[in-house]
C-alpha cells in the first residue's frame, strides 16, 4: 500500500517555480532515496509533504488521506516526520529537551519517556550528553540528535534531508547504519541524498529529481549500474 504519494505536484516560491511536476510513491516498509543535484527541488519536495510549503497544484496523500491542504502539526500528528536539512537542533536547549520536543504531540508522557530511552539505546552517545546544550554537539552528534528527535514522535514514516551532509565518511556509514536499523524496526523512510553511493547502498528504490521534475525511478541495484546515474551522480 502506498504510504506517501505525490501526484504531479507543483510549487512556487513567489514567481519562481521550484517544483514542476513531482510524482512519486513510497510504500509501507520501504526505504526510498530521492537523488538530485543542488537546487533540483529535493528539500522543497519534503517541505511540501510536511506542509511548511504549500503546493500550488497536484495531490499529496499520506496513508490515503489528502494532506496538501493540511497544517504542519496535522502532518506530524498523522505520523509523517520530516528531519530537516542542516539538522536544525534547538541550540540552547539541552539534548533531552530537544528529544522531548520531538514528542510534543504525544499526550502520554510515559510513552515519550520510553521512546527517549529507546533512542538512547539506539544512539548511546546521546545518552551521555543528555544534559548538554544541543548547539555544543559535533556535526555528527547533532545529526544523530535530529534523527533521534524525529523518532520520539513515533513516526510511521521518516523523511530525512541530507543526513550525511558535512560528515566524515566513517560517520556517514554510521548514519546510514542507523537509518537501516530504523527501517528494520518498521518505519518507512524517504531519504534525500547528494551522496548517491551511500544512499543507494541502504535503499530499496530511488527517484531522481531534475529541475523540479521526477525523471527516473528504479531499484537501487539497477540505478547503481545505470550509466546515466553513474555519470551524473556517482562520479566516474
Amino acid at each position: 500500500m502506498a504510504m506517501l504519494e505525490f501526484d504531479n505536484v507543483e510549487v512556487f516560491y513567489g514567481k519562481v517555480q521550484a517544483l514542476r511536476g513531482i510524482s512519486l510513491r513510497v510504500d509501507e516498509g520501504e526505504i526510498v532515496a530521492l537523488l538530485g543535484n543542488n537546487g533540483a527541488g529535493k528539500t522543497t519536495t519534503l517541505s511540501t509533504a510536511s506542509a511548511l510549503v504549500k503546493a500550488h497544484s497536484g495531490k499529496i496523500a499520506f496513508n490515503g488521506a489528502d494532506i496538501s491542504k493540511a497544517q504542519p502539526w496535522n502532518v506530524v500528528g498523522a505520523g509523517l516526520i520530516h528531519v530537516p536539512e542542516g539538522r536544525r537542533i534547538f541550540s540552547t536547549l539541552t539534548v533531552l529537551e530537544n528529544l522531548q520536543l520531538g514528542g510534543y504531540l504525544v499526550k502520554d508522557r510515559s510513552v515519550v519517556a520510553k521512546r527517549i530511552e529507546h533512542v538512547y539505546e539506539l544512539l548511546p552517545l546521546l545518552a551521555e550528553r543528555r544534559a548538554q546544550q544541543g548547539g555544543t554537539l559535533s556535526g555528527g552528534e547533532q545529526q544523530m540528535l535530529a534523527i533521534g528527535r524525529g523518532l520520539i514522535a513515533g513516526p510511521k514514516m521518516l523523511m530525512l534531508d541530507e543526513p550525511s551532509m558535512g560528515l566524515a565518511p566513517l560517520i556517514v556509514a554510521q548514519v546510514m547504519q542507523v537509518i537501516s536499523e530504523i527501517r528494520d524496526q518498521g518505519t518507512t523512510v524517504l531519504l534525500v541524498e547528494q551522496n548517491a553511493r551511500a544512499a543507494l547502498k541502504v535503499t530499496d528504490r530511488a527517484y531522481v529529481i531534475e529541475d523540479g521534475v521526477t525523471t527516473m525511478e528504479g531499484k537501487a541495484d539497477d540505478l547503481l549500474a545505470d550509466p546515466r546515474i553513474i555519470d551524473a551522480y556517482l562520479g566516474a
Binding site: 510536511s50 511548511l52 497544517q71 504542519p72 502539526w73 506530524v76 500528528g77 516526520i81 520530516h82 528531519v83 530537516p84 536544525r88 534547538f90 541550540s91 540552547t92 536547549l93 529537551e97 522531548q100 520536543l101 520531538g102 510534543y104 504531540l105 546544550q133 548547539g135 555544543t136 554537539l137 559535533s138 556535526g139 547533532q142 528527535r149 514522535a153
Partner: protein, 324 residues
Amino acid sequence: MPRRTSPKRPTASVTATVCFADPKRILMVQVIWDGLFVGSFYALIALGYSMVYGIIKLLNFAHGDIYMLGAFIGFAALTSLGGIPATLSIGALLVVMLLSMVLTGGAGVLIERFAYRPLRGAPRLAVLITAVGVSFSLEYGIAAIAGPNPRAFPIRLEGNVFNIIGARISLPQIILILIAGVLMILLNFYVQKTSTGRAMRSISLDRNASLLMGINVNQVISRTFFIGSALAGAAGVMAGAYYGKIDFLMGFIIGLKAFTAAVIGGIGNIKGAMLGGLVLGFVEAFGSEWFGGQWRDVFAFAVLILFLTLRPTGILGERVTERV
C-alpha cells in the same frame, strides 16, 4: 561609577532616616529596598515585552497600555463591588488582580489575533506602526470610557511601616514584592518545565523546526500573549493599589522602562527580563539618591542608550557557545 559625595545629592532623605546605626549603611539599605521594589514592577512588565519579542520578534509597544488596562479593570471591578473594609483589602486585591489578569490576558490574545497575526511576514516597520496604533487605541479608548482625568483607586494598601536595619519598609511593599516574586517563580516553572514552555523557547530559536515538531505555533503564540499581558495586568492593579491613582497614560513611561529593562537583561530572554527589571530599579534608586529624583528617568534612558550601543544583546544575551 558616580562619586558618593556628589554636590547634587539631596540631604532631606538622609536626615529623615536618622537612627542609631551608621547613616551610610542605613542609606544603602533604603536605596536597595526602593530599587528592589520598583524593579520588581519593571520586571513583571518587562517579561511580557521580552517573551513576545522572543517568540515573534515584535516590539509590542502596546504592552505598557495593557498594564494601564489592567489598572482600569481593577478600578472597575472594585468600584462595582462597592466599599471594601480595610481589613479585607488584601483579599479583594488578590481576587480583583486575578480577574484583571484573565481579562488583560484575553485582551492580549485578541490584539495578537486581529492586529499582529494578519501582518506576519509583513515588513517589521508595518508591524511596529501597528503596535503604536494599538497603543493609541487602548489609551484613547480608555480615556473615552473612563474620562481623561486621573481616578482615585478604590482601595489603598495601607499597613505598618517597619524599620529594618534602618530602612523604612512598609507592609504593602512587602506584599507586592511577594506577589511579584510568586508570579515570576510560576512563570519560570512554566517556561522551563512544561511542554508549552519548551515550545515557546523552541519557537524563539527556530520557528520552522518547531513546526516540524508538530507544535501549533499560533496556539503557543496566543498563550505567550496571554501570559505576558496577564503579568502586566497584575502589575497595573498592584500599582493602582499602591499609588492610589490611575490615568489613561500611566502605561506610557512604564512601557518604555519595561522595554529598557528587557534590553538590559537581553531582549527575548526571560531570566534577563527579571534581572533587567531589578537592575533598572537599582540604577534608578541609586541615581536619584546620588543626583536627585529629577534625574531618575534620565538615568533609565541613558542606560538604555548605553546598552543599545555597547551591548545590544544585554547582560544575558548570547551566552551560548554555538557551533555553526
